[in-house]
Symmetry: D3
Subunit: 313 residues, 6 copies
Amino acid sequence: MSQGIAHVSVGEQFEGYLLIKSADKGVASNGKPFLTIIFRDRSGEIDAKLWEVMKDDEEVITPESVVHVQGDIRQFRGKPQLNIRQIRLATAADGIHPEDFMEKAPVPVEELQEYMTKTIFEMRNPNVQRIIRYFIKKYEHELFTYPAATKNHHEYAAGLAHHIVSMLKLGKQLSELYPTLNTDLLYAGIILHDIGKVQELSSPMSPSYTLEGKLLGHITIMIDEVELAANELGIEGEEVLLLKHMILSHHGKAEWGSPKPPQIREAEVLHLIDLMDAKMNMLDRSLEKVKPGEFTDRIYPLENRSFYKPTIE
Amino acid sequence: MSQGIAHVSVGEQFEGYLLIKSADKGVASNGKPFLTIIFRDRSGEIDAKLWEVMKDDEEVITPESVVHVQGDIRQFRGKPQLNIRQIRLATAADGIHPEDFMEKAPVPVEELQEYMTKTIFEMRNPNVQRIIRYFIKKYEHELFTYPAATKNHHEYAAGLAHHIVSMLKLGKQLSELYPTLNTDLLYAGIILHDIGKVQELSSPMSPSYTLEGKLLGHITIMIDEVELAANELGIEGEEVLLLKHMILSHHGKAEWGSPKPPQIREAEVLHLIDLMDAKMNMLDRSLEKVKPGEFTDRIYPLENRSFYKPTIE
Amino acid sequence: MSQGIAHVSVGEQFEGYLLIKSADKGVASNGKPFLTIIFRDRSGEIDAKLWEVMKDDEEVITPESVVHVQGDIRQFRGKPQLNIRQIRLATAADGIHPEDFMEKAPVPVEELQEYMTKTIFEMRNPNVQRIIRYFIKKYEHELFTYPAATKNHHEYAAGLAHHIVSMLKLGKQLSELYPTLNTDLLYAGIILHDIGKVQELSSPMSPSYTLEGKLLGHITIMIDEVELAANELGIEGEEVLLLKHMILSHHGKAEWGSPKPPQIREAEVLHLIDLMDAKMNMLDRSLEKVKPGEFTDRIYPLENRSFYKPTIE
Amino acid sequence: MSQGIAHVSVGEQFEGYLLIKSADKGVASNGKPFLTIIFRDRSGEIDAKLWEVMKDDEEVITPESVVHVQGDIRQFRGKPQLNIRQIRLATAADGIHPEDFMEKAPVPVEELQEYMTKTIFEMRNPNVQRIIRYFIKKYEHELFTYPAATKNHHEYAAGLAHHIVSMLKLGKQLSELYPTLNTDLLYAGIILHDIGKVQELSSPMSPSYTLEGKLLGHITIMIDEVELAANELGIEGEEVLLLKHMILSHHGKAEWGSPKPPQIREAEVLHLIDLMDAKMNMLDRSLEKVKPGEFTDRIYPLENRSFYKPTIE
Amino acid sequence: MSQGIAHVSVGEQFEGYLLIKSADKGVASNGKPFLTIIFRDRSGEIDAKLWEVMKDDEEVITPESVVHVQGDIRQFRGKPQLNIRQIRLATAADGIHPEDFMEKAPVPVEELQEYMTKTIFEMRNPNVQRIIRYFIKKYEHELFTYPAATKNHHEYAAGLAHHIVSMLKLGKQLSELYPTLNTDLLYAGIILHDIGKVQELSSPMSPSYTLEGKLLGHITIMIDEVELAANELGIEGEEVLLLKHMILSHHGKAEWGSPKPPQIREAEVLHLIDLMDAKMNMLDRSLEKVKPGEFTDRIYPLENRSFYKPTIE
Amino acid sequence: MSQGIAHVSVGEQFEGYLLIKSADKGVASNGKPFLTIIFRDRSGEIDAKLWEVMKDDEEVITPESVVHVQGDIRQFRGKPQLNIRQIRLATAADGIHPEDFMEKAPVPVEELQEYMTKTIFEMRNPNVQRIIRYFIKKYEHELFTYPAATKNHHEYAAGLAHHIVSMLKLGKQLSELYPTLNTDLLYAGIILHDIGKVQELSSPMSPSYTLEGKLLGHITIMIDEVELAANELGIEGEEVLLLKHMILSHHGKAEWGSPKPPQIREAEVLHLIDLMDAKMNMLDRSLEKVKPGEFTDRIYPLENRSFYKPTIE
């Protein structure tokens, strides 16, 4: 597992520990059951087939479990596929933890926490600061474990915090260039804008959408939370309205899920920074995988474009 | 005021009481100040000019006041315009009330109240019923004075309640045809869907958008209200989520201001009924003004179409 | 065939009568021919394979025939597939009729006929009534056998009549709420709007599009029919024009196939009722298949949405 | 009237005969009535005002009358306006005919008739030929007096025939380059495609839309006519269907008013030729009005573009 | 190879020479390597599988090579597939040339050259003529070997020249009908508009997009070339600007890749002629493959329409 | 002229020097000529009327002249209008320069020059650096006098350089956050992306579009310039292609005028930075004009939104 499951080659043997992301049962053309599994480790994912399914296998092979696997790497529809020969649940004796199989933010969590704490400390508007402290405390665990999205960008452990901190840094630079920006509002908007995702998504490890996520979405969820928080903290005043507006409008326009477009300067900047950081994260992660002179795969949320990696320095 | 200001003809004299909807100051090409006023009574509106402005006129001639006016009906850009000769504030002695100058719902308010009360009484789901009672009580005054919109449809006193009751009747009929509908949810969604407008709009008489209305909109405002109400009433459970979803999705799609589209049957029906009743109200009010064999003016929210009034019975 | 082919489970044996919807020949990787068949009965459809094709099989196994089949239910790409072991044509001795294998409207045909007859009887405009009688007579058979569409909604025997009658009921209710509606026009528009489908589609049992259907479509076909009928009946006057306009505009706008949008009140209502009944039919049929707390499959003509079935009463 | 009303300059006197296109009554700010008139002659149109309206003037000054006018050319909102000093109806003694004030096709009507006759004579498919003869006979007058549109292109007397003949010439050339085209179908489609306009428009001289034109449109009108003609002539067969399809699809796609897009080669070519000839007519007429090195006014149906007239030879 | 590879039937044996268009390696479910090849000859293409891959096969079986092949025609997913039994490189002794396996323009190259030469000879504007001569000389080889596109229309050897010459003929005919057209500009625009494709595409035989093609596109490439040519030839004046404008705008609008829409008459005509000739080429080639009474496959660039081939003469 | 013409109030007298932006002749309803003038000074613009036009006035009152004006501030259609009483050309004796009446960048030109020079000095890629030096030298005057646009953002003297330098600062900050960016490419793209505007616009003072600007646009103009520069400097290699690609794609997508979307990371960033700086400039300039608690006018290029200025600190 030196390099991880994303780096195996067709024809190789594989032996090692893997996390089960999903497992689905099928029936082969000979009438026998088989399992289609997606495994993951920190390097990425691989599809797999288990053709000889034993009686108990189905109960054992479930999402979020870690297993020890032996098998061969075949090719299926142009991609590697792991053909399982042996599989068993990892035990306590193996000394393995599911978290070790998740991709992590490229920055230590402590650094993210520290940066965020410092930013909040420097806020001058007491109402804004109290609301932010309320949520940082309420979600101190989730903020530093959840991804920022289920796919596309910052889709790794603490991706949410990583995204927030990158945006805070961008925000700080922009406010030097454009000194009219109200930094308290801007930083608060950045910290709050996506926290609703911790209720929209089911778990940090293999996230799917919750019922609330499907019927309301993270924007509406978070606006309700701010309303309740302000109510509980006894805060009244334009700050609450402006923060709700920033959350509501951060997708930029109706077609993208914001029923009101940005109508204060800080909301417009929040939207632009969010776009910028998400795009840079996607681009960097895609370009990392190709050599100079090559094009990346098509990147769906970047209008399905391929990007070229120049050969010049 | 026999027939009302909407029915005067060019060349006529006018004398009577009118409500001031708006008043703006201008300076004429001879350098003298004048006032451009919009008057209204129950029949409709008229533009007016006051060319000889006295010192105190500007303070006196303010929106929502009732005045006694004498003048001539001229024509300006193809429409009648009232050229004011005399104007004074109505006094207590005149026995005039601003409400008398508002267009009213074509159904008595008592009837609307009674129908709504009966509907709520018949609800069987206690959580849904309690939430609805909470709002009926909280907004008992606003519900029966506010219009349903600033223009286009149900833009008259108690228009909001009139729109709700028409939709409830439609909902009742549909649930006879399609018995799978959950009537508690449907009726509750109908009653709540537009109540946010009492905070989105500044007043029932000459409504403009409030800051909250502009930055959040009536949908978001109402979802917050439901969240707070459920919190205050101690209600938990899918009902709260479903009611919030119905409010959130009632505009039908993102481009129309609903970040989530309807995802339960009752939400889809709520959207369709809302559309149907708004369209019928607009159509009826436009067709009323033309004779058989004629076309109406273009109706902007009906994709700017003109409608033909047939000559056959 | 107790429950029908839509309710078999993977691993089961099947023996019974089925209607052939389509049959296509293929050549397997071993060079031998095989048949891919779609069977149907009243409960729904199933894909099937016949791997050992005998000489005469191809002539015998043809669309719209009823056969007796034995085989096993396998799984193929996540769906059940019938692997045929034995197959033979049903004979007179089997006492089986193709019509028995079609899904039927959930209301008896007699009831639909009666409701329609009553509606026509109550019409007061003689021109409108004569035109409607003409078509009811001309298509008395097709109206009560054809589906309203090849898929999506009312796609069962007499689906067309079922759709019309539901819409008539909706129309009746609406005209109580909005008494300005001309019911003769509205009901006539409802009855005529989709009859062109009996020429657009090839047959009631396994409908495909006719050449006329592809090059002209049911709207244009029906307008021509009304023109010829009025000509034959010697009817002149606005009624003919208005009925043609209602048919022409019932899809609501150009992008949806109506070169003119509704321009009379009754045409707008026809369009809205058509939408409402089609959507309710789709929703009911999809939600029927899932349990409370689950989402339906994505429903393509409802903007590809999934719908949630609430758990509350 | 040497050069015509389109060529007068601000400050000039005008005396001559003009056709009244429209006349509307207004009331001036001094309370007196006035008339706003649009005059036309063969060169174009001019707006005019008659400030001193005599008792009988209103009855006399009506659309489609020819009058003798004296006045001055003023400037109003950047355009010349004729300020009327004297006006009287033209009498028999003046020897003036309304037709002389209409713009005419740049090709003699006889030439257009002859070309069309020759084309029909050369058709080889008897069904197609009989249908075309039927319509040429039925509309022999209208075809050679109506414009092809109320504005934008070929909006002059016999514009319809001029448009048809230009398209026939284009069609002939294309069928030399692409010999697979069925010329009978193509020529027949060209001749029929816009004839419905003679019912869609009220008159050749100052056309407005008829009720049938508004509720059905020229495409639907013409398909009905072909249906009746084929019925009357006893013609059956694919020809009728194909001609109806060509008429139906000649606007190219649903958004442009064709519920079915072209599905035979000749229908696609008909659509392209129609576009080409309309565009060339608009371009030529706009570029005629400017000098080399200048841009034309914006041309609305050409996506609101201005076109540049090169200075090179 | 009598009729060519596009005309084989399932079940037949095949023996003959074929050009390799592409070859990809896979690994079968039994772990053994195989090759998926696309072969072509003048008649069209066929997919093939080589299951028993020898050591050297991979080096030998490369794109643009000609091989001698023996095998059987199987069916795979509804299309014929060649199952290879024997394969070897063609040798000098076989007397075979890759060009013989390319589809060719339906007109001899000499004829295309002659027509183009004659057109250039007749130009009267010396600046325009010199620029055209420059490019005809620079690309005398590429012009008469490259296709006009990688797929859809004129995708055969000398397709580019064939497309240009058809458009020149169309242009000549149009300028007879619309004599205001500047033929020098129009013909020059036709000749230049797509020449950038010889740099956008990698080779005439199995074209893919070059880096310059992907990052700039043939329009931008060609505008740069005209700039350099004019610079080198010392030509100044409106001609250069107008030719660049025609190239820039020939896709008609921004969404289709022309940042400026046509703004001179000749540019508009160039765009229309390009569309017309591309469409006719696609239509003819698709309709050729079906019998009267049938529909073609869906044609993607013609809005995915199927076209019907009439049964009448 | 203490505060400037943008700050006068209705009813005031005005006396001072103004620059004529445009002057158009009209004829009043009394038949007399008058002039409609737009004046500007550094603070903004005002509309004006000169009713008594003397013989020589028309020749004297021409765009880009400075005049001494006396008059009264009236109100016309809700905006102040200067009614001219006296007007004369400024003379040498007045000591007035047209440049003094242009709005200026809020940063001294020297500072902009210095920042740009420093940036170029730090470039490490010699090809990129030479191309940039070439253009800085070629347009050393225009770069520091032209606006970045005719309206909306940076529409003041040296606005182009101001826009470039703000973007360079943004680019420097981003490359600290996202160290994978190639700063040479990014900075070069920023400097070149809009220089084509100095040919697209006619002059720095009252810019209109040149013929080249209308028919080609600044993107195409600049790509040609880079091609010629590279040719002249003898530079080959990917740098030239990448710079052309960045210029070509900087509007982000086809609908916005970039026929190719960004396909390298630096091109995507260039597009985002351009958007960001233009939006911030517009927002700052609009919000400057309103007080806390107010909304700005609608800002057309920001999707016509109004922005709210918060009342909180």
